[in-house]
Symmetry: C6
């Protein structure tokens, strides 16, 4: 029926184990208890701190299909609920991803929920309280969520300062977990696993990363994520010189300012 | 005809008694007299103070179907009144929820009315005065509301400071009840009933809640609702450690600020 | 043909006399002379000062059908003039209320005209001067208004301060009447007639109303309308205690501020 | 074919002479020379200063059909040029008023041109220079204006202060005439002719009008137009007392401010 | 196929010579070299400085068809590229003017390019560099411009101060020519040729024009274009008195301010 | 199937070598390693610094088809992913360029990505991480990118100051290369190759260019790109006098200010 959504999860991780995820604190226990008590979950944290990986990992671990939507300024309730399409002389209803998730008993992950248009957020209110019900008004349908349906949302508090806040009436519907960058030891483990560089190289890169993370005086909009360090490690592993790898994978993605870039390159040159 | 709306009420509370609601003051009497005199009702109060539960409870108690709409920035009159849909080579009229409520003699509950687009609010004016009439212009229809139809709206005064006020010409059409958080005794009763924790645990959680509610110097956008306390109680009851339960169910939903979160966790640690 | 519009007037006042309206000054004479000279009429005044009732009363008194439109931010000329609807494989023209009013020789009442989109206001210009003609461009039709057609608009000067003014080129097309709250004596008569309370109760309520109206230092957006007093009287007549009736029907509709509400309740307690 | 547009002119002035217009200066000569040299005309002036009447008068005097469009914030080129309409299974082109005017060799009058959307104004550029050509792109048609086609626009400089100016590239395409209120003698003649009051009454009303026009310290958005004086005269002629007539026809249309209205009523009372 | 576009050029200048244009500097040479090197051309200059005439003249001189589009705030890429139209039960593609120009090897002139919506400008980028290719995505077509296709745009720097600039990434794609008002001698030649007045009258009018052009202290949005002088000359030639001609053709189009207009009329009175 | 996209690349470079591109630093190596590690690439730099040429060059060098999209304010996800078109009585899906690129294993180049609407950027997130998957929700399709698919974006940091930034969550997904103007020696080589002028002329033009680039006190929005120098060289090569060529190809495209233009012309006159 909807091969797309199931395919997503099974295609990515054929046969073998779970998608790689290195737990940082007690996030797995919170996930499982929230699932048991049918409470929705909100993941808060900066870019590249592993929120999406965590969801993929837990969905696979629990053997449940996962359906993901990335929100933006124009994501509306219709995009999540579904719409009528004209096909020849007929009008056909097409479930949106949230409707599909309720219907099939899936984990439904809404990435960057605070970006979406307000009707989107209101549309999921009835799924987040004791009703656990989805009103698909345009299709004149009311769906009760089964025991396997779980709603997870993410948002990045760093973006929402002052203007694009989640309203309290939405936030208070979710159990919330704060994500942050991992400890050096955990991060080393991740970088080695994902890029194939040796531990010494990984540690050098993480040293660069942490030095930049501490340079608050640079006024960077956001700082070095684990993702950036993995990218640099991949290029080094593929044979690109370390300094050049750091420049294109770490420095240039962080800033367009010539002097800031020069300062960051100097910092790299101290270590490599 | 419209199984959805009736299903909503009957499905949720099969067989047995009313949906759980613990009255706080004389709201039930006001509801009944307003119903008797055919006056519309406006429920004012913060997130999670029980407005929606109260409406569900009264509808079930009076044995009337309940139809609910949650408003957002783009809710328009068309969403409430109905629209034409193209189906194959025919155009079919589909009642919106307000039209359905008038036609079937139901309680019609408009959640967060101040969020809706202005045409929505104007569309219900003729239902709120001596006319008790709905003009469905696009369907060339005029509906008189029967004796069982009642219009209820809610809004959160905390959100509307300065910019999204209900106009006086709308407000003065409603009898209004102000909701607030219940007394500790009533709240204990609610938390025990909803989560299954014992009274001692419930009291500790409510102590946390009330301490936070008094910390006005934290500048929280909104404070601990009964809902948050129930969520924390559910996780504790399911075996998650109390401090961790309070962190993910009480603290993280209230703030993204690291220092505020730490202060709230300290407060939790004094009690658990 | 258009049973809706005629039904509106006749349904509301079956058999017996005119809809209840208590004249305050010479508004009835002005209405009749404006009708005789085919001049359009603009009613100016605050919420609940009786503008709409006055129009219903005069229409019934003169035995003319009345068609009413309440304007909002998105009311457009199309809404008043009419539109094409697709029905099956045909496109059918459907008169809007203004076109219907001209065609049938009715009183056409545009409530809160300043709220409408500018094309709405321009669309009626040709009906308000010596031409008395309606251009229904999309239907390629030009309608001359017969002698019974009369255009009446209302607006609330209190809302339009500074930003949503009627342009002078529109205002100068209308003969205008200013409405305000009635004298205590007239108001008593109205409250008794509408709610069924005795004169003593009515006088007490009006005393409350006038005390609040004089409390300009409260900074209320709008003050106690006759409608509010009638609502409180209805609840008292139905058996709700007077202080509670005043709280939910008078105080809560006027303010969300806790201190202002307390001050108003104190004022009520002095009288009841 | 298009009976609407021709009907407009002939219906309004059946049989007898020209529509009433009292020339104030040399506007008739300028009109005729602009017509002869095929130059478009722009009429500038305040509300009710006779611009529209002048155009009606000249069109009738020259025996040419007149097509009028009143612009507003949402008037677009499509409204003037024409559009496709779906009728059953066919799409039919329908000329807009400007296209019809070019096709039929009519006077085309665009009232309040500065209000229209910018595409409207650009669409008529090619008609205002040596090309005298209309590009109806959507209908894949190019129309040359015949010798009888003339383009006339009006705008009210008082409205356009600072924000809704006509661009110089548009203005410099037109020969322009400034309109203003007539001299007392001419205005008396107009008021008598239009309302049927005697000269003495007319002079009193014009005295009121001119006193108000000189009260610049009142800060009125716009002042007494001849139209307002004619309205008051009509009501007086119909038997409404003069002071009440002045109140509803002169004072209330000019201001909503209670003190300003009182001052204006005092002024009326000095004369009547 | 597209008789409209070709007709445009040939209709306007049947038989005889080129459309009248009096070169001011080396603009003709620049045009020809830009054409030879397939570089697009941008004409910069104020209202009525002859940009459009120059393009018509050069197109006719080189014997190439000319297709013109005047941009406004809502001109979009679709308007230039083309769209699908529903005709009966079929959907038919209709080339826009830019697509037609590329297909037929014409000069394509975009008047006031900075007014258009940004997608318009991006849509022509690929035509302005070494690719000389037009991507008509919606019609799934890629068109290579032949040797006769040339892209010309105009813009008025006086309008764009601060808010509606052409982006550098667009401007640097064009060879640019700055237009300004001609020298008195050249302007006399133009006024005589276009209006038929004698040289003495033309010189007087140009004297007026140049005096106004030097009155920078008047703060006029834009000053006297050659077009205005020609208009005044035409009215004089047709018999309208010179001072009145100057008032309606020169003064009133430049200003709505009563004092500025009086000052300009005084200036006219010194010369005529 | 989609001849357009393949045609684009093969048409432009038939038979012979690569499209002309002169490497400036190690950008080719970074491109190849990013391709090998399946990392997306972001090219940052000013107008005319060779970003687009670089992409064309690398695509041809690697023998891969190239599909390009230029973004603007209204580019949306639908434009990249595809849409349904009504054709007669059927609705046909039409791949957008990004879907086509994934399906055919092409290089996909998004020019000026920061201009696009936010849904565009979110739509490509899943292609830029370990998933390398495109969700074409409206066509109910999930596409995995093959090994040849590569995503490249460009943006101009000079435009985005303060208001149209790429969000960190997007930027950190890309390996980034900063482009700038080439050294005089490299630029000479380019100008000679592209225009056919001799080295001496090229050097003079580059001297002009570099003098302007150093005149930061002029406050130019953007400075002389290599493209401008090549344009001037082409006109000189075609016989237009050098000073005039510099005026129309270098000076006028940079500024509309008369004094700045005069200063730049003086600078040109010192060298030519």
């Amino acid at each position: 029926m909807h091969p797309a959504s199931e395919a997503l999860n099974s295609n990515q991780h054929p046969g073998a184990g779970l998608p790689y995820y290195r737990p940082v604190a007690q996030e797995c226990a919170v996930f499982e208890h929230a699932f048991a008590k049918k409470l929705p979950l909100l993941l808060k944290g900066p870019t590249g701190s592993g929120k999406s990986r965590f969801v993929e990992h837990m969905a696979a671990k629990m053997g449940l299909p996962l359906i993901t939507v990335s929100c933006h300024d124009e994501t509306s309730a219709v995009d999540l609920l579904g719409r009528y399409l004209v096909q020849g002389s007929e009008t056909v209803w097409m479930d949106g991803p949230m409707t599909r998730a309720v219907r099939t008993g899936s984990i439904f992950y809404i990435d960057e929920i605070a970006e979406a248009r307000p009707d989107t957020i209101v549309a999921l209110h009835s799924l987040t309280d004791h009703r656990r019900t989805l009103f698909v008004d345009r299709h004149d349908e009311v769906l009760s969520a089964g025991p396997n349906f779980m709603l997870i949302a993410s948002f990045n508090p760093g973006y929402q300062k002052g203007w694009k806040e989640l309203k309290a009436s939405t936030r208070q519907r979710f159990v919330s977990i704060a994500f942050n960058y991992p400890s050096p030891q955990v991060e080393t483990e991740i970088v080695v696993a994902e890029s194939g560089v040796d531990e010494a190289q990984a540690k050098k890169l993480i040293l660069v990363g942490n030095k930049v993370r501490n340079l608050v005086e640079l006024g960077l909009a956001e700082t070095v994520s684990t993702r950036l360090i993995v990218n640099a490690a991949c290029l080094i592993r593929d044979g690109l010189p370390p300094r050049l790898s750091c420049d294109v994978a770490l420095v240039q993605p962080l800033t367009d300012d010539l002097e800031t870039a020069a300062a960051l390159r100097d910092l790299v040159a101290l270590i490599f």
